[in-house]
């Protein structure tokens, strides 16, 4: 069984800001960008124990900078894409991905076509990464 967590910055995210500006220059109708580390675990540990182990790991989580969210599904939501390195090691019990969540000018999750364009033109280098939608 797989479980997913998102580790998000509490402090201003310069990378998300840069991504938004670059996407806007490329003509993608995006008004807000959020970014998170997505951690996917397989195994039988409970959510509570997994969450606690993430919070204890000083390389994954710093309470001053991050907030931790347990995701209800191991799958991106609408307006969201997860990027994973194709040759990332799969043997360890944790996968680490980068999640992007894009919103349009009405504050709604970005539509599918625009999200495809954002992936193809900037967020995913398909030579080395796969985009999970």
């Amino acid at each position: 069984m797989e479980r997913a967590f998102a580790v998000e910055l509490k402090i201003p995210d310069n990378e998300a800001y840069t991504a938004m500006r670059a996407l806007q220059r490329l003509g993608v109708a995006v008004a807000r960008v959020q970014r998170a580390d997505i951690l996917i675990f397989s195994g039988d540990e409970s959510d509570e124990r997994l969450g606690a182990s993430i919070e204890r790991d000083e390389r994954l989580f710093n309470p001053n900078k991050h907030r931790l969210e347990s995701l209800s599904a191991v799958h991106p939501r609408a307006g969201e894409v997860w990027i994973e390195a194709i040759d990332a090691p799969r043997s360890i019990p944790m996968r680490r991905l980068v999640g992007w969540r894009l919103y349009d000018h009405a504050g709604k999750p970005l539509g599918s076509d625009d999200l495809d364009a954002a992936c193809a033109r900037l967020l995913c280098n398909s030579a080395i990464e796969r985009a999970i939608r």
Binding site: I11, P12, N14, E58, N62
Partner: protein, 781 residues
């Protein structure tokens, strides 16, 4: 817990502390609730001088300005004992950084700006950000002298990183990652450093940092408003002010406990090396603009005390007061409290004092040409106030005056007089040879593999050592890092940073003397003439008479050694309250940096052995004293004395080594430090491997019987000295130069076989290298 932003706007006048109406107990409670570290007597003296209840903004301002970190109140009187002037001193320790004279090139005099800081407490709490902002801060100290930043160095003291010490291991890795992430991104090479692992740093690591800059001496910018600077505009440059780093100055002035460390995370600043990279380059452009126009300006880094501390010091140093409008500050969050805007320590900010006529152009450089607002959200250059003839420090917020105090009262020196307990000097002296049932072979391998001796490459290969393309000797290839900072010139400088905590634990005064000696020795070993020093005094609590006594002894040691070697301190830092919550302090840890000068870099000497058939000489004396040595640590020897430093003899030795280097007589050189002579020799042979050559071996045929100090002391003692390689064709001239110097002895020759041969032993260099090269790989993979 403090509130960083106010949801309902309260009347500024209501936000004050009625000091006069409260008894001591109530006052302390109120001050604690506000998170103020100010003492009762300090609070009362503020209220008395102002003649009214101080506002919250004023309280936080004094709290920062009178903290140990800003005021040096426990150490300022002591620091007066250090020599600070000399022929090569261009600027002593009065501003953000000191300056030493490097030399002349094409009719211009060039200086090296040098600053030395600690970021110990932040690095313990949030290792990555703490270490990164340590680099970020010191780089600003150097930049604001009008200099181009050319190098950094990092002395590090970590806790025990044995398996099971997961937190200590995470801290060590986080610190190294933070230094790498910041230094590499801004493009400043990491030229030198040292690293020790010791359980006494388990709760309080030391992360010191040294930065160097290059400046033409005619173009130095000072950290003060110039004499004619009345009404000069205060122009704030950099990152938008946020709530990070509120409480930083007083945070680094209190001892840490684990819970506090958690809650203190709010005080740690967020680094942005990308923005800093752009600010540095934009500032270089501003320097040339000012130069072209012949305009004198003031420039200062925002560090402890934030906008308030920086603007107050910049103006008062020039004899002015200041008016600052907090509403004009570019902020990252709405509704920040005025005290957060005033004293918060958001990173990546600097403050200019400029005449009106140039302000617009400077704003254009930062905001348009280098487009700061596009580089980071709301980063920019913005006018925030002016220097005034009135000797007041005034802050406005939402149209009201929230701070109005005499500027000299705010920035003037506060001093504490503290009880001192003199450390007991270890007096035992061993007359007999050391008895030990371990074999020479066993000990040699154990010492080579010791974490304080083994190869540092797994650590420093995380750092960019060669960006800017001017590195002559990167870390690991000689005893000091060497750089040729001026295009087209043979002038070079050498840098080494040193301090042995094992000596600090035994003998605080001698620890300081050895830190000075070792840093000088390392610089001499590359053929550079030492020209100046900086120091960082890392100690426990000044409120503990014994720990304060260690600081006093350390300052005396630094003073004695520097005077003996004829050198001055041009910059320094004091970091107190280092220790565990139990009150157990760190070992006395004076850390010294020495800067050396090479007028012709082609005379620089490196560490790897160069040819077969050379003669190896030891320049130095061996003493029957193993205190502070790695051998003593491995054998758990107590009661050993620390080697004495015979400065007059050593000065003569160094003069000789430099003369031999300048005549090109030294093929290679390496000092004797951690692990002793055998480690020095092994490392000179390992150097060939790093150079992709077959290792040259050593036959210690001249070694037996020359030292009266005993076999273990001769092989593994750490009394200092330098080993040099002299080609067979040069030995006549070399010995002629040595003249009557008695402490120069031939100890062996270099051989083609990859062996280190001594009496009945013949170690394979490859075997020794295996023990030495790997121990840190598991920590820093």
């Amino acid at each position: 817990m403090l509130c960083f932003s106010s949801n309902s706007r309260r009347e500024p006048s209501l936000r004050d502390l009625k000091v006069a109406e409260l008894d001591d107990k109530a006052l302390r409670e109120q001050a604690d609730t506000l998170g103020l570290a100010l003492r009762i007597d300090e609070l009362r003296s503020i209220a008395q001088r102002l003649g009214r209840a101080p506002s919250f903004v004023e309280l936080y301002a004094f709290d920062a300005q009178w903290s140990e970190h800003c005021s040096y109140k426990s150490s300022r009187a002591l620091l007066g004992r250090l020599p600070t002037s000399g022929p090569d001193v261009v600027l002593g320790p009065a501003e953000d950084a000191g300056i030493l004279h490097l030399g002349e090139h094409e009719g211009e005099r060039y200086g090296i700006v040098i600053a030395h800081e600690s970021h110990n407490h932040p690095s313990q709490v949030v290792p990555f950000e703490g270490a990164a902002t340590g680099i970020g801060g010191i780089v600003r100290d150097v930049l604001c002298m009008g200099a181009e930043v050319v190098a950094v160095a990092d002395p590090l003291r970590f806790g025990s990183v044995d398996s099971g010490h997961e937190h200590q291991r995470a801290v060590a890795r986080g610190v190294v990652d933070g230094i790498a992430a910041y230094g590499n991104a801004i493009g400043v090479p990491n030229l030198a450093g040292d690293c020790y692992f010791d359980g006494d740093f388990d709760d309080n690591v030391l992360v010191n940092v040294v930065a160097l800059g290059l400046v033409k001496e005619s173009e130095i910018v000072h950290s003060r408003v110039p004499r004619h600077g009345e009404n000069f505009v205060l122009l704030l440059v950099g990152k938008a002010t946020d709530a990070s780093g509120f409480g930083g100055a007083s945070f680094s002035s209190v001892a840490l406990d684990a819970q506090e460390a958690q809650s203190n995370k709010g005080a740690v600043q967020v680094p942005d090396p990308f923005l800093k990279n752009v600010i540095m380059r934009a500032s270089y452009r501003v320097f040339s603009l000012l130069r072209e126009r012949g305009i004198e300006a003031g420039f200062k880094d925002l560090g402890a005390g934030g906008i308030m501390g920086c603007s107050a010091e910049l103006c008062s140093a020039g004899g002015f007061g200041a008016e600052v409008d907090l509403d004009s500050v570019n902020v990252a969050l709405d509704r920040l409290l005025p005290e957060v805007i005033a004293v918060g320590e958001t990173q990546e900010r600097l403050l200019w004092a400029l005449p009106e006529e140039i302000v617009e152009e400077v704003e254009r450089i930062y905001n348009e040409e280098f487009s700061l607002p596009q580089v980071a959200q709301n980063a920019r250059a913005v006018r925030i106030g002016r220097a005034t003839a009135a000797q007041r420090y005034q802050l406005r917020h939402l149209g009201e005056i929230v701070m109005d105090v005499p500027i000299d009262f705010l920035t003037g020196s506060v001093r504490d007089t503290l009880p001192v307990e003199e450390p007991k000097a270890p007096s035992m002296r061993r007359e007999q040879d050391l008895l030990c049932d371990r074999t020479l072979d066993d000990l040699f391998h154990a010492i080579l593999a010791h974490r304080d001796v083994c190869s540092r490459a797994p650590l420093y290969r995380h750092y960019d050592a060669v960006v800017r393309g001017r590195t002559v000797i990167p870390r690991g290839e000689a005893d000091a890092g060497v750089m040729a900072p001026i295009r087209g010139s043979r002038l070079a400088f050498a840098l080494s940073v040193d301090g042995n905590p094992r000596i600090g634990r035994l003998d605080p005064q001698r620890a300081a003397e050895h830190a000075v000696y070792e840093s000088i020795r390392n610089v001499v070993a590359v053929g550079a003439e030492p020209i100046g020093l900086t120091d960082c005094l890392n100690y426990g609590s000044p409120r503990d008479a014994r720990q304060y006594g260690e600081l006093v002894a350390g300052v005396d040691g630094l003073a004695r050694a520097a005077r003996g070697f004829g050198l001055a301190y041009v910059s320094g830092n004091v970091s107190l309250y280092n220790g565990a919550p139990s009150g157990h302090a760190i070992p006395a840890s004076p850390i010294v940096a020495c800067l050396g000068r090479l007028t012709d870099l082609s005379r620089c000497v490196t560490l790897p052995l160069k040819e077969v058939g050379s003669h190896l000489y030891l320049v130095g004396e061996t003493q029957r004293a193993l205190g502070g040595s790695v051998l003593a640590s491995i054998l758990a020897l107590a009661d050993e004395t620390v080697p004495e430093i015979d400065i007059d003899r050593i000065v003569a030795e160094h003069r000789f080594v430099l003369a031999a280097a300048s005549e090109g007589l030294l093929r290679s050189a390496h000092d004797i430090s951690g692990g002793g002579l055998f480690v020095t020799l092994a490392e000179m042979s390992f150097g060939c491997l790093a150079d992709r050559r077959a290792p040259i071996g050593i036959d210690l045929d001249g070694f037996a019987g020359w030292s009266a100090a005993g076999a273990f002391e001769s092989a593994f003692g750490e009394s200092g000295g330098i080993v040099v390689e002299v080609a067979d064709r040069d030995i006549e001239r070399f010995e002629e130069l040595a003249g009557a110097l008695e402490s120069v002895r031939e100890i062996g020759t270099t051989i083609a076989e990859p062996l280190l041969a001594f009496e009945d032993e013949a170690w394979e260099i490859a075997d020794l290298h295996r023990s030495w090269s790997r121990p840190l790989e598991e920590l820093f993979p």
